[in-house]
Amino acid sequence: MAPTIHYYCPCQSGESVQTPPPPHMASSSASFHPLHSLFFCEECDAVRCNRCVSIEVSGYYCPNCLFEVPSASVRAEKNSNRCARNCFSCPICRSTLQVVASDPPDGGDGRPSVSLSNVGEPPFFLYCNHCRWDSAEVGITFEKPTGLAAQLQKFEDSAPESLEFERLKEHFEPFLRTSSLSSLSHVPSTSSHHLPTSSATAAASAALARDVPGVGKYNPPARSRVGRDRTANKDEMPEYKSRMEISVLGQLGSEGDGSDVEALRRMETAEEIASLEQRWGNSWTTSSRTSDLRPLRIPLHSKVSKRCPTCRHILIKPEQKAQSVRYKIKLVAANYLPAMTVALPHTQGADTTRRPQAKAPSTSDDRNVGAIMAGKSYPFHLALTNPLYDPIQVRLSVQRMHVTAVTDGTAPEKARRTPFAVSLPTSSFPVAAFAEAWEYDDDDDMFGLEDDELGLEMGRTRDKDGKGKGKTVGVLEKRANVTVVGGEVVIGKEARGHVKFNMLVSYTYRSDDPLPSEDGAGTPSRTVAKTPEVKTFTFYTVVDLGPILPREEKVDPDI
């Protein structure tokens, strides 16, 4: 397992706690994220992760035909969170279905006849390329190869569940509308969602906003009085009569009326019963036989824009086109925080020498060579890449942690000893600024930078592993905007588990003030603003160097 570094986002801990949880606990992995999935808010000067950002939908598209559906039509129509064109997914294997024409009529003389029409012969049906299911098995065929969803719409609308839903909506709508008008004053002003377009959703969000702060409003047995709770200051609501009796509905599904038991008796293979994954997307109970599964319209995907939860600054704003990967606003943490990678040099030494030769004989050899063994000390390399256009000074420090949990077998007093000790360079070291790629062209010999530290070393000189190294802890190499520092970890004899430690990284950088005043008659405040200010940013990371192999289990490499 390669060593990794993850960054800490404080959204999971409370408001006052800023230190990360101890890394050996399983639950702490929720607070640590790889750098490329994090965002950075410039106003708050804080790291944000995908869990804490607030999300708004900026557009919908079908993942199969890539057609962009306007948000208005998605919210307005009933079934419109699915593609309205020809995109269906196979009920058996969930891959996309292809519209195929039936075979042309046989000419009778054995030769394959050439179809005259452009799109083939009707009737058309859906065919799955992966599992060879086709919709003729459930009796769904089409007259035209386009507009399939519209052709199926008639059948869908007459299904008993959608008629029941319409009836429920008509029953609740007048009451929800009047209750939403009376409770609009309760809606919090910092709502992050767009104003709902229909009265039903307005009422739902108003009810939710009212219910969430107060905990004691849940009344489980009062199913028929749900409307009454929400319209507390309104008149009574008449009781709802459903369109058909429950026993009638039982014949549609498998509600214990004996017909499904008969089917089970006649069953030959286990695949005749639809699996849970194929069935749980349906809102009502349907037949549990695989042969009754119908093709599903493909649900739409959405493009989201993300905002900082505290200051509402937009962090991610995608472009209008659904399939474009560019963003109008993109405040990712990788543009602000130094990217760090960690490597164990003894692992890399084993890999590179094997490549041009024949394949390595055994994998257990690799495991012993590359892994971390208890009772030894290993150096590791930490490479920091500076994304800013200014040089930074970085200081690292290991967070001290209490280790109380150790695996089985060891006595409690042994468990309290720290399993490993990490030493890092304690002084701050600089990392050069980032410059455009053309300055570091491979073919070019000159670097053309004013920084004299880089002038000392040309190209990729680094300490060869064979030479005697003077130090293992400290700055090892500076190249372009990457600085490699070395640290050392000493593993105790009784150590188990993973070598994971929290590391505090703080870096300072100059943020130059723009626009120094050219006018000689500047105000005093302007002359003060000319001096660049030095800003410091601090964040936590967790470094995972890999599992520790206990010493007794050393595998004989000859076997």
Binding site: T96, V325, R355
Partner: protein, 188 residues
């Protein structure tokens, strides 16, 4: 990550645009194949540039972009279809910064930029893979699938798993460029 990936100098042909093609790769119909520059074709790869669409003139069967990597043992064949009685091959267009893993069979119609495909995958015919998508290892993508941008597909049949982070494009671009610079001949 900084470790160089060595190859035997005699094994690879390097062109003036920086493409590195292994001599042990099977390239059929090289006049119909376009490599964008700084592209690596590993040993054992099979690229069928000879399966071209019938018709006069010069046809481009397979075109790859810059900084691409075709893994070892990969098979790249253009997709074919019988339409109104005519059998035809369709050209295969691959974008820049695309890494294709080892032993993968690719019959897609279009692959966008910054795509990473894992090893032992099977990409069915006429698949369209948009920019910055990724296909995990050991995935089987059925024919005629569309993989939208920034999507991660896995499983057999390949299904949508999750959306990738927004900085995927820069990550893949820097990884592919770094891989090319680490791919160095071993002086013997």
């Amino acid at each position: 990550m900084d470790a160089p990936v060595y190859y035997s100098k005699a094994e690879f042909i390097e062109t003036d645009t920086g493409n590195k093609v292994s001599r042990r790769a099977t390239i059929a119909g090289p006049q119909n194949i376009i490599l964008g520059g700084k592209t690596i074709i590993s040993s054992g790869a099979i690229i069928r540039g000879d399966l071209r669409r019938t018709g006069p003139g010069h046809a481009v069967v397979i075109s790859l972009g810059r900084y691409c990597l075709v893994g070892e043992g990969c098979v790249m064949r253009p997709p074919y279809k019988t339409y109104r009685g005519n059998f035809n091959y369709y050209p295969m267009k691959i974008g820049d910064y695309v890494h294709i893993g080892a032993n993968t069979v690719v019959e897609a119609a279009t692959i966008g930029n910054h795509v990473v495909i894992g090893k032992n995958c099977v990409i069915g015919k006429f698949t369209i893979i948009k920019d910055c998508a990724q296909v995990a290892d050991n995935t089987v993508i059925p024919p005629n699938t569309v993989i939208p941008a920034l999507a991660l597909f896995a499983g057999s049949p390949g299904r949508f798993v999750e959306d990738l982070p927004e900085s995927t494009q820069e990550m893949v671009e820097s990884q592919t460029k770094q891989y090319y610079s680490r791919f160095q001949p071993l002086e013997r």
